[in-house]
Symmetry: C2
Subunit: 478 residues, 2 copies
Amino acid sequence: PKKKGENAEGTEEKAKDDVKSFTLKTPKGTKDYDEKDMAIREQIFSTITSIFKRHGAITIDTPVFELKEILAGKYGEDSKLIYDLEDQGGEKCSLRYDLTVPFARYLAENKISNLKRYHIAKVYRRDQPAMNRGRMREFYQCDFDIAGVYDPMVPDAEALRVMAEILKGLDVGEFTIKVNHRKILDGMFEVCGVPSDKIRTISSAVDKLDKMLWADVKKEMVDEKGLAEEVADRIGEYVKLKGSKELCEKLAADTGLSGNANATAGIADMRLLLNYLEVFNVLPHISFDLSLARGLDYYTGVIYEAVINDSPSVQNGEQVGVGSVAAGGRYDDLVGMFSGNKKIPCVGVSIGVERVFALLSSRRDRASIKSNATEVYVIGLGEGFLEERMRICSELWDAGVKAEYMFKKKPRSLQVQFDVCDKEQIPLAIIVGGKEIEAGVVKIRKMVKEEASSGDKEVTVPRTGLVEAVEQKLQELR
Amino acid sequence: PKKKGENAEGTEEKAKDDVKSFTLKTPKGTKDYDEKDMAIREQIFSTITSIFKRHGAITIDTPVFELKEILAGKYGEDSKLIYDLEDQGGEKCSLRYDLTVPFARYLAENKISNLKRYHIAKVYRRDQPAMNRGRMREFYQCDFDIAGVYDPMVPDAEALRVMAEILKGLDVGEFTIKVNHRKILDGMFEVCGVPSDKIRTISSAVDKLDKMLWADVKKEMVDEKGLAEEVADRIGEYVKLKGSKELCEKLAADTGLSGNANATAGIADMRLLLNYLEVFNVLPHISFDLSLARGLDYYTGVIYEAVINDSPSVQNGEQVGVGSVAAGGRYDDLVGMFSGNKKIPCVGVSIGVERVFALLSSRRDRASIKSNATEVYVIGLGEGFLEERMRICSELWDAGVKAEYMFKKKPRSLQVQFDVCDKEQIPLAIIVGGKEIEAGVVKIRKMVKEEASSGDKEVTVPRTGLVEAVEQKLQELR
């Protein structure tokens, strides 16, 4: 069944109001997150944030829109997907398309030459949405980047270690991190005989190999992009190669590549990187894969992309599953586009949290998710005793206990109040009535189902010792 | 001195790049938050969130832009401050102006009749910015709202209790919460003889009494808004009234107001509310203040606004200080604008976090703020021993310890690595060198200044017991 608030591709779901003609929906490609969604999302963010912090990253925040000229010329063909703000007088602005370009602008503007930062925030793309696969027009990115001049492959290895720690921490299942190097790709294209003006477009075609068969990619290269068939065939031999450290040696021994400067530099980097990844215990997850190309123009070195192993990407010719769940690479020239001549090398990783969300969300039983934090529900018998319930809550709040009560002077019955505890999964109830007030006591009852049958289900404690008694009961339940 | 990245009103600070002509700045009225700002902001958000959760609130998220028609007709004159997205084909959208209207849309769209939710997110207003007072075009709102049909003043009292808990928790200093009631204001205007078509505009004039003298407000009423002078004078007598429970009795006894239905209903509400606030221990912070009017049209009942006591609002005729730090009220008709005939009464409070940020930020010594979480720095002697440092970090990360090392094969010296510990306030250093590796040990050194002088400043532990030893040292430092 279709989830409330979701507007999938094409469908124009209009819930017309009968009095005024409001269209009650969120804009196309966007959705509301309800409390259950938010509970899952907060768990994801908290896992990711703790790992970013474990690696010493600080966080920054930049505005949701940038001056239009900051984003211009950074995304190639995808620039058409940028949301512009209406010209209402003043500066021309656009919603950010990613967090990387604002990060580069930030570094250049503040003349920062090294920084390890993370940024978790929403970005905007006027793309064709596919909500059930986690592709939306408004979505979160969780980025970790290391800027600065360091020894080769050392920050790159840490970015990959962070990626692996997060995927393990999120418990998405077995995963593979495909790794490649732009210089190896460039060298390979040169060696195969791709004209230099066709390298980017042929690289884009290679990038589709995770969704298309080689025969179709070759057809695109030859028929659409005018590449000679024998050149395409040579590429075809290389892009089927994948492996680990032994592939470095194989490529180093390749008569074609070994004479190419780009390829040689790239292979040296990969050798170093795979060595560091072995030290970091990440190597078992790595697949050095010559078919990985990555779409974005700004990558200059190592590139990588993580996929879930048991998630099929194509089924009956149709794309299914969530695709890559994390990706990134080295981009040494982007900050220089803002800082004039000063080059700030960067490497980073971006976690595809919306895809992770779609994955984890589909596995969870929504009814079992507790979306509030309430620990205690204060229940009134008979006449309700509203002010006494308020007084008790007040004392609990002062002690930091998460407590609620029914906003009625006289609740309809004891049962309607118990029902709230069940529905909201509130573990403790405090019960007050005329007799209790007279005797200077309150009752504390464990509401959790498995506890409800045990002997000490309900205790009576002095009103003056209430807070301590509640804190102790909560301790027992933890 | 002007903080980097800040673009105050009017100033067009352009840092022109000399190669390409990029304007390296954020859009007017927006700013970047660096790691120190973020440390302060996260502390503020964490305090606020824990209090919202203490009261059982769940959280939701809505898109940053809404269909334009959703926002239309909700903000009166301020509608001109709404940011529209450019029409790039498809739906017309606007950036959200607050979190209240999206909340109302959410309730109506999902047919939710009761909810206690909080929402912390950015909103957008094309206003004249005053950045040093925390007024920006992009800013965070932290809202807590209770929707649902309940007994009178019960949720209202909880909203005010939440406001008071947060202001205490944020440690902003002594504060006063001004409270008034729209029905009392309306009744008062009726009794004074304000024509019904002038009530909203005269109410707006009264709202300026926190920034202007009565003489000037009266002038505006009489000269600009055409109110009879004797009517203005009668208003002038009422709006100087402020107090607590006794003011309810005084107003109930007022010959004018006691005959007015609106005023009588409002006074009954206030009597009940002040009683509940007394139970909640909030009454000492409350000032029932007839001069409080609040700008927004959608309020229908109790309204409130918190100010810091020692923060002057006007000095030499110029506005200074941060103004109100939290505000809110009851709005019973807003959801009905989306749901047709179904009325969902709501009451809420919004924390002015940017003002709180400006206040707390000005009090903090920026140098003393630790913006990363790093606990351990792994230092290499002599040849650097990069891979050993990586291996140690890897083990620490596996154990959840926050650790970093220098991204150099051979750091220039021991001192440059100690300097990082000082600068980043990292409490522990692990030191490895050739001798240590040979002996199968590592050194652990406490780097915190006050500890550095004590006897057990440095210990040598077996390499195999490193993680446990580090965890124990960290425990000691906490």
